[in-house]
C-alpha cells in the first residue's frame, strides 16, 4: 500500500495534470490557493514546480463550514491570507484529500467573498470518492477506495508524506 502512495509519484501526476488543464484552457497566470493545512503544503510544492512567481494564498474555511450548527466553531482557526486580488483571476484551488465535497463548497464560498474569479480549477492529491455534493476535481493525484476502517492523511510539511491509518483499533 505504501508503494501505491509514493508522494513524489502523486505530485508528478498532479503537476502534469495541472499543466495539461492550464494549457487546454489557455491559462498562463493562475493564482494558487491552498486549503489549510494539507492544501497549503501542496500549494507550496506546486507553486515551485509550476514556476509561479506570485505568492500563493492560504484559506482557512472554519468560518464557512456547514457543520458549525452541529459542532460549533473550530477553536484552531487561523486567518486566511490571499496576497492577491481574486477578481477576474483564474484560480487553482488545492486540497490534500477530497471526499464529501463539503470542504470545497465552503472554500469556494469563501473565495467569492474576496472577489469574483474568472474560473476555478480544482486539484486534489487524493480522491476517496464517497461524494455527498456534486463537486468534482479537475486534476487528481490518485483515486483510492479505502476499506471502512482505513483513513488516509497527508503529513508534513518536511518531509511531505502520506500516512495510511488503520482506525478504530
Amino acid at each position: 500500500m505504501t508503494a501505491l502512495l509514493d508522494i513524489d509519484q502523486l505530485l508528478n501526476e498532479l503537476e502534469s495534470g495541472l499543466r495539461q488543464v492550464l494549457a487546454d484552457r489557455g491559462v498562463d497566470q493562475p493564482a494558487l490557493i491552498g486549503i489549510r493545512t494539507g492544501g497549503v503544503w501542496l500549494a507550496d510544492v506546486l507553486s515551485k514546480r509550476l514556476g509561479l512567481d506570485e505568492p500563493f494564498g492560504e484559506l482557512d474555511i472554519s468560518f464557512y463550514r456547514d457543520d458549525f450548527s452541529r459542532i460549533g466553531l473550530n477553536p484552531r482557526v487561523k486567518p486566511s491570507s490571499l496576497p492577491f486580488d481574486t477578481e477576474g483571476r483564474d484560480v487553482i484551488l488545492i486540497d490534500d484529500v477530497i471526499m464529501s465535497g463539503r470542504t470545497i463548497r465552503a472554500a469556494m464560498n469563501e473565495i467569492f467573498d474576496y472577489g469574483r474569479p474568472a474560473s476555478i480549477i480544482l486539484a486534489t492529491l487524493i480522491d476517496l470518492g464517497a461524494r455527498e455534493l456534486p463537486v468534482q476535481p479537475d486534476v487528481v493525484g490518485r483515486t483510492l477506495a479505502l476499506e471502512e476502517h482505513q483513513r488516509v492523511k497527508l503529513r508534513g510539511p518536511e518531509p511531505l508524506h502520506i500516512e495510511l491509518q488503520e482506525a478504530g483499533h
Binding site: 452541529r70 477553536p75 486567518p79 486566511s80
Partner: protein, 337 residues
C-alpha cells in the same frame, strides 16, 4: 475565582468546556481566553476583505438588549452580529415596554417568543445578564455588554487583543490602570484578564476615594502617586471619570484630578518609551488625558475600537457554536433515552 463573586461560573461553559454564554472572565482559563484572542485575529482579517461577512450566524436572530444607553458598545455589537450574517434587533429598553411597567421576565418571554438565538445585555444592575442566562430557554446565548459595577468582559478582551498586537504577548509586561477604578466594571474585567494571561505586574493608580475597598484582592498593586506608578510601564490604560455615577464629593475638582492623575505628555515620559496608551472611551479630553497624548503616536485608542468588532464576532460565534453543539448533543441523547 474571587471570594466575593456570587455568580456561578459553570453557567457559561458547556460540559466539554466550550463557551455557551459570555458573562464574566471569572472562571475562564488562560487557554480559553487565548482561543478567544486567536479567533478574533481571524475575524480582523475578515474585516479587511471586500465582503466583510461570514455565514456563521446566518438565519440566527441577535437581540441587543440595552437597559443602559451606549453608542460605541451597541454599534460594535450590531456590526459584529451583522458581519456574522445574523439578523439584529436593537432594543433600547429605557424607551420601551419596561417603562410601561412590564417586568424583565415578561420582556424576555416576549423576545424568546420571537425565536431569538442570542441576547446581548447591558444593564445598570450587577448580575442582570447572569439572571437572564439562568432563566432563559436552553439554547439561547447571553453575552454581557456591561453590568453595573461588575464586569464588561468584551471590553477587557478587546483591550487584551490590542495589547497582544502591540506587545506580541503578555509575559513580562507591566500594566497600569489609571483613574476611576471605583465605578469601573471595565477595570475589574481588565485586572482579571491581565492576571489570567500572565502579565508581570498590574498596577492601579488612583486617589483612595476612587478605589474600591480591598482592591488589591483583585490582583494588583496600588499607587496613589502617579509619577511613581508610571515607572517602567509598558501599557497604560486610562479610565473615564464617570461623573454621572459620582455621589457626594469623591473629588476636589476636575482640574485637581487632571493635575494629579491626568495623563499628560510629561507623565507619559516617565513610562517606558514604547509604552502604549489605551482608553475604553468615550474620552474626556483635558480631564483624564491630554489631547496631545490621546492623538499622539503612543495612543492605540482607535485600534481598540476596530478590535472591539473582531472580539465581539469571536465571542458571539463561539457562544452560539457552543449552544448549537449542546442542542445537537441533547437531541442525540433524547433519541436514545
Amino acid at each position: 475565582m474571587t471570594a466575593n463573586d456570587p455568580f456561578p461560573h459553570h453557567l457559561q461553559l458547556t460540559r466539554d468546556g466550550q463557551l455557551r454564554h459570555f458573562l464574566t472572565l471569572d472562571g475562564l482559563s488562560r487557554d480559553l481566553l487565548t482561543d478567544i484572542l486567536d479567533t478574533a485575529d481571524s475575524f480582523i482579517e475578515v474585516g479587511e476583505r471586500t465582503i466583510k461577512k461570514v455565514p456563521l450566524l446566518r438565519g440566527r436572530t441577535v437581540v441587543n438588549l440595552f437597559f443602559e444607553s451606549s453608542t460605541r458598545t451597541r454599534s460594535t455589537f450590531e456590526l459584529a452580529a451583522k458581519r456574522l450574517s445574523a439578523d439584529v434587533l436593537n432594543l433600547d429598553i429605557s424607551t420601551s415596554a419596561t417603562s410601561k411597567g412590564e417586568s424583565l421576565s415578561d420582556t424576555l418571554l416576549n423576545l424568546e417568543a420571537m425565536a431569538s438565538d442570542m441576547f446581548v445585555v447591558r444593564h445598570s444592575q450587577s448580575g442582570a445578564p447572569h439572571f437572564i442566562a439562568e432563566s432563559v430557554t436552553p439554547g439561547v446565548a447571553i453575552i454581557n455588554a456591561g453590568d453595573g459595577r461588575h464586569a464588561h468582559p468584551t471590553q477587557a478582551m478587546l483591550d487584551m487583543l490590542t495589547i497582544r498586537q502591540h506587545k506580541g504577548g503578555f509575559e513580562g509586561l507591566k500594566v497600569a490602570i489609571v483613574g476611576d477604578v471605583l465605578h469601573s466594571r471595565v477595570a475589574r474585567s481588565q485586572i482579571r484578564a491581565l492576571n489570567v494571561l500572565g502579565v508581570a505586574e498590574v498596577r492601579v493608580i488612583a486617589p483612595g476615594t476612587l478605589l474600591p475597598k480591598d482592591v488589591e484582592r483583585l490582583g494588583c498593586t496600588v499607587h496613589y502617586d502617579m509619577a511613581e506608578g508610571m515607572k517602567d510601564l509598558d501599557v497604560v490604560i486610562m479610565l473615564r471619570l464617570q461623573n454621572e455615577r459620582m455621589e457626594g464629593a469623591l473629588l476636589p475638582s476636575e482640574r485637581e484630578f487632571y493635575r494629579l492623575y491626568g495623563l499628560s505628555r510629561d507623565k507619559l515620559a516617565l513610562a517606558h518609551p514604547d509604552c502604549i496608551v489605551m482608553h475604553p472611551g468615550p474620552i474626556n479630553r483635558g480631564v483624564e488625558i491630554e489631547s496631545a497624548v490621546a492623538d499622539g503616536p503612543q495612543s492605540v485608542i482607535l485600534n481598540q475600537v476596530t478590535n472591539g468588532i473582531a472580539i465581539r464576532m469571536a465571542v458571539m460565534s463561539m457562544a452560539m457554536g457552543g449552544q448549537l453543539a449542546e442542542r445537537q448533543r441533547t437531541q442525540a441523547q433524547g433519541g436514545q433515552v
